[in-house]
């Protein structure tokens, strides 16, 4: 038994259809610049003039920053309260609208699939759909994310 996750919800405690309400994050100019300098130094994430002239039409967060902040919301609202055992990846990530400076993002995650790992009886695979929106309730990012979860009782969990 893993002492770190022993008291958390395990695979057996999760159900398809469960909806997790995520917290929010407000994106400041400093946050956009700091992330862009390290991971996405394209002119339209680093310079307001270049941003206005770009397809984005103004200073916007790197899509990777939106993704990272959404992940943080998921960890705080959900992954740190279950026996999560690492991400497997994601699919169909769509940046539907740019996240502009001053926007507040939030949203929900829904459990859409649960199955046991074929090769590893100690794990289940959890699939979540993330729906991230801005303060006007316009969708900014959606994706489907898969994560491993520890099984409490390897013999009996279905």
């Amino acid at each position: 038994m893993n002492p770190v996750t022993a008291s958390r919800r395990h695979y057996e405690d999760l159900a398809v259809g469960e909806e997790i309400t995520l917290g929010t994050a407000t994106i400041s100019k400093d946050m956009i610049f700091a992330f862009a300098r390290e991971f996405d130094p394209l002119p339209f994430h680093l310079d307001e003039k270049a941003a206005r002239d770009s397809l984005l039409g103004g200073l916007a967060a790197s899509g990777w920053q939106t993704a990272a902040l959404s992940l943080r919301m998921l960890v705080d609202a959900f992954l740190n309260s279950i026996a999560a055992a690492g991400g497997l990846g994601f699919s169909d990530l769509k940046w539907r609208r740019p996240v502009m400076v001053g926007d507040t993002i939030g949203g929900k995650a829904t459990i859409v699939e649960l199955h046991r790992s074929r090769r590893h009886p100690e794990w289940g695979v959890l699939t979540l759909e993330m729906d991230i929106r801005n303060q006007k309730q316009e969708p900014v990012m959606t994706m489907r994310l898969s994560n491993l979860v520890e099984v409490r009782d390897e013999e009996h969990a279905s």
Binding site: D40, W64, R72, S91, K94
Partner: protein, 183 residues
């Protein structure tokens, strides 16, 4: 590649360079964006099936993105030095798939490679094309770290805007247009 869309060749492969991950930066990224115990706490991480600290997959991927941006810049610089006008890379509409294959531990060196797997002109944004890029990341033991299928906008060089669109664009530049639009 800050090349024009027309000059990008399908199946061309670009090495993007490598990055060595330190425990310090793994923890720093983890605390900001992915504070699960195996990304931020080496002692607690020992109880996980990883047996120790590992980088958030999103960290490995964000570094891969940085490597790609640097390669685009270098290609643009190369063209400028050769006396050519470089192309324009645009934002990305999304990622079709991302598979995390093996964990990245402190001290691991990850090498990134980009392959253009396809391209077509955009149906929704005139004057731009879509590039389908695959990034593969491997570690110093030649193990696959992740595989990503990305989509990116790239500007067309040989695009002439249809008259209808040029008129519409001229209209938006008339004084008072934005006020009118807000109503």
């Amino acid at each position: 590649m800050t090349r024009w869309f027309e000059d990008i060749v399908e199946n061309e492969t670009f090495p993007l360079g490598s990055h060595t991950f330190t425990a310090e930066e793994i923890i720093r990224f983890g605390k900001l964006y992915d504070p699960q115990y195996f990304h931020i706490d080496p002692e607690a991480a020992a109880y996980s099936h990883f047996g120790g600290l590992i980088a958030s997959g999103w960290h490995t991927v964000s570094v891969g993105h940085r490597k790609m941006v640097d390669a685009l810049d270098a290609e643009g610089e190369r063209l400028r030095e050769a006396g050519q006008e470089p192309g324009v890379s645009g934002p990305s509409p999304g990622i079709n798939g991302m598979e995390f294959k093996s964990p990245v531990r402190p001290g691991d060196t990850v090498s990134y490679t980009l392959t253009v797997t396809g391209k077509r002109s955009s149906a929704s944004i005139p004057g731009w094309g879509l590039l389908f890029n695959r990034i593969s990341a491997i570690n110093q033991r030649d193990e696959l770290v992740y595989l990503a299928d990305l989509v990116a906008f790239s500007k067309l060089r040989d695009y002439r805007m249809p008259l209808r669109l040029r008129l519409a664009q001229a209209l938006t530049r008339l004084p008072g247009f934005s006020k009118l639009q807000r109503r």
